[in-house]
Amino acid sequence: MEVSKEYAVQMHGITKLFGTFRALDNVNLDVKKGSIHAILGENGAGKSTLMNVLYGLYQADAGEIYLNGEKVVIKNPNVAIEHGIGMVHQHFMLVDNFTVTQNIILGTEVTSRFGVLDMKKAREEILNIVKKYGLEVDPDAKIEDISVGMQQRVEILKALYRGAEILILDEPTAVLTPQEIEELISIMHSLIEDGKTIIIITHKLKEIKASSDVCTIIRRGQYIDTVPVADVDEEELATKMVGHAVKLVVDKTPAKPGDVVFEIDHLTVKDDRGLEAVKDLSLKVRKGEIVGIAGVDGNGQKELVEAITCLTRSESGTIKINGTEIQNTTPRNVIEHKVSTIHEDRQRRGLVLPFTVAENMVIEKYRTPEFKRHGMQNREKAQEYTKKLIQDYDIRPAGCENQPVRGLSGGNQQKVIIAREVSNDPDLLIAVQPTRGLDVGAIEYVHKTLVRERDAGKAILLISLELDEVMNVSDTIDVIYDGTIVAEYKQGEVDENTIGLLMAGGKQNENAVQNT
């Protein structure tokens, strides 16, 4: 494409090598001024790498960058900022015990004479930006006291405060609730009206449809296509992204629930600060049924999982698996009672990253007679066992049993955990955010696995912040708000809006069906 002033950003023929690996191979990107341009691709497709090249974090091995029709060389982020490029990273870079204002001005402090901080002036400038774009946020609140959605606004403010005309948002919706996502999209639109340009990195198709004008698709470092969003539907986008047709809706037959396997009765759990995070919560999971818990982050899901897995104390109430109470025992006891958990934080709780795949596979089994021999590890057995799981679960690269799990992609790391937990042959499988950070292909795989296990007669408890996921996969949908289950529906009996409202603390629909 020709270089023109109409375009805020043009990246032509960008190639980036990591060692011999081609992270980007001759990728083109042309972003019109005043538009919202989505970059779509699976994990590891090169979206973030491309943006890091634009932001000066990486240097391209080949290719040119033009801003407003002029060729530029962006050596480092400071140069990018000078050129009016701002980036909001997926993981926020904020100082927790600083206020919003302090965070925003950090590095570009306004000083009066004698080098004294002029907080008043800074605060005013920030309030101006806040008003202009409807980015409501309290400039005096501390970061640790505000929600994730607010923190993201602070990041956006930070970029705008530095005079950003081109804003890069890296997976901005990964941590937001449906309502917060809507608000973000409206903020994005008000920025566009003011003539800003936004590049949004994402693998969520729905949000692209809702927010963007144009979408560029990248697959395995290759430029695939650039399409006007209005002209394509989600299925087409998914197909372009993955390279083959994918099913976005989970394929499953109606559940045939059996006996109650897992039962929580009037459970109360306190959080780290000693406040009640789970309040008098009750729920049941039956054999051959997927119960999904929908809720906004921070409504007790974390503490609920920690209480079930005995990482934290339950204050009162009981947790029963097959009739045996397991609350306030040990994580090991829970595992031995045939409860398997796919933890949301796979790198912190799920895996020992420097361990090999085989070592990770046996982390709950190394102590069983099958895998030990006179106090020594039965390494051959572990190898053999892992090889089989690698094959069964298509973990890539094949033959990775002796490689550190750190080297695997996020999706494959998750497969390692899923393979491990499912192969425990549990009575109850708890899946917490099992598809977090995974791409469409991998998500499809995880969902299929959950349904397959359900059909094999397992009880499954799915806890997710992705409302779509809960709605799609679960047979029974519970809504958690403020530490308690506020409503329960059968799949298909309820729409997304009702659940969304309940998740945000809205009144329960009078027609809600109580199944407990």
């Binding site: 060692g19 011999t20 897995t309 006891n333 595992i335 934080d345 912190r348 020992v352 190394y366 106090g375």
Partner: protein
């Protein structure tokens, strides 16, 4: 090019490069100070290797620091920083003296008892650190530094106590001879022994002029035991899992606190063993009033660092370190350069080992450049 970058990525290569840099910096320092580096290094290596007596002394010098190095390396592999090896070493030597002076049993019983007492002494100091970390979350560096001082003053207290103080000296009574772990200490000085050794000049010099003891055998054995424990046993699997990622280990049903205490217990035992073997194997077989630490434990930190926390690597790093320490004395004698030069060299080596993370990065760059050329 590919070959080269592959070699550069090996840890041993980094260590060797660090060693070379250490020598290079020491050479510069020597030259600035007005000494001939070649001559000084010549004296250093001659002082390490030129006589059987020297070699034997290097080994003797290396034995305790191989063990304290193992102690630090082992703790490190389980996610703990055992800066308390020094205190555990002292605790081990105290315990060995306490038992060795009071008891006088046949050597077959006495030696194991005295050595075990030392091991226990180190274990007690180690496990206190582990317990405080597991129970109250107090960082092991804080507690073990405190315990280092406690052990130093405890040692001085024992020296000055009535029951152990050797009159008109600054030390305790030596442990009874039945506690000695030298190789055939009596026989070698007897007429028959001397006659038997005479034909072999090497053995004769080694045996008679130095405290040849079984310590090195035990140290090497322990290196193997620790390797097996860490990499082949179920316990080691648990310990490493806790070391790498406590949260994941806890979630998988591994008792994190118990493993922390056990790890410190074993680390303490290794340092205590070093202390006990020094008492039983090297003259003067007693403890003296300490004005400052003797650095057996702190040198263990450097050994573990040079070895990259590899148990087997500790043996070689310990020997190298012992050699530098011992050979350094010759530099002073022959060239007149202060032993501090040797300390600077050791410091530089450790410093460059710490920096060697740069080497694999350089290798990466080299690889990339190779790709560029290929195009």
């Amino acid at each position: 090019m590919k070959m080269l970058s592959k070699i550069l990525k090996k840890q041993i290569t980094s260590t060797i490069i660090a060693l070379l840099f250490g020598f290079l910096v020491a050479a510069i320092v020597l030259a600035i100070a007005g000494y001939n580096p070649g001559q000084a290094f010549g004296a250093l290596f001659k002082g390490m290797l030129s006589k059987p007596k020297y070699i034997s002394n290097v080994i003797i010098k290396a034995t305790p620091i191989i063990l304290t190095g193992l102690s630090v390396a082992f703790a490190f592999k389980t996610g703990l920083f055992n800066i308390g090896a020094e205190g555990q070493y002292v605790a081990g030597s105290i315990a060995a003296v306490l038992v060795g002076v009071k008891l006088n049993l046949p050597a077959v019983i006495q030696v194991p008892l005295v050595v075990l007492a030392g091991v226990l002494g180190g274990m007690v100091f180690g496990s206190v650190v582990g317990f405080l970390k597991a129970k109250f979350g107090i960082h092991e560096v804080i507690t073990s530094i405190m315990l280092n001082w406690i052990s130093l003053y405890l040692s001085n207290f024992i020296v000055s106590s009535q029951a152990y103080h050797l009159p008109n000296s600054t030390s305790t009574y030596p442990v009874n001879e039945s506690s000695y772990t030298m190789i055939l200490p009596k026989w070698k000085t007897s007429d028959a022994g001397m006659a038997a050794l005479k034909p072999n000049k090497w053995l004769y010099e080694m045996m008679l002029k130095t405290d040849v003891n079984v310590g090195i055998v035990i140290a090497i054995l322990m290196a193997v035991v620790i390797w097996v424990l860490l990499y082949r046993s179920n316990k080691g699997y648990e310990l490493r899992a806790v070391g790498f990622n406590r949260d994941a280990a806890e979630f998988a049903g591994i008792n994190v606190n118990r493993n922390i205490v056990q790890a410190m217990l074993i680390a303490g035992a290794l340092s205590g063993l070093a202390g006990a073997l020094s008492i039983t194997g090297i003259a003067p077989h007693k403890i003296s009033t300490l004005a400052a630490f003797e650095n057996y434990g702190f040198n263990g930190l450097s050994v573990a660092m040079i070895a990259g926390s590899s148990p087997i690597g500790c043996v070689f790093a310990g020997l190298l370190f012992g050699g530098l320490l011992y050979g350094g004395q010759s530099v002073q004698q022959e060239v007149g350069a202060p032993t501090e030069i040797i300390n600077i060299m050791i410091g530089t080596i450790v410093f460059f080992v710490a920096l060697t993370k740069v080497v694999p990065a350089l290798a990466e760059r080299l690889e990339k450049r190779g790709v560029g050329h290929a195009q």
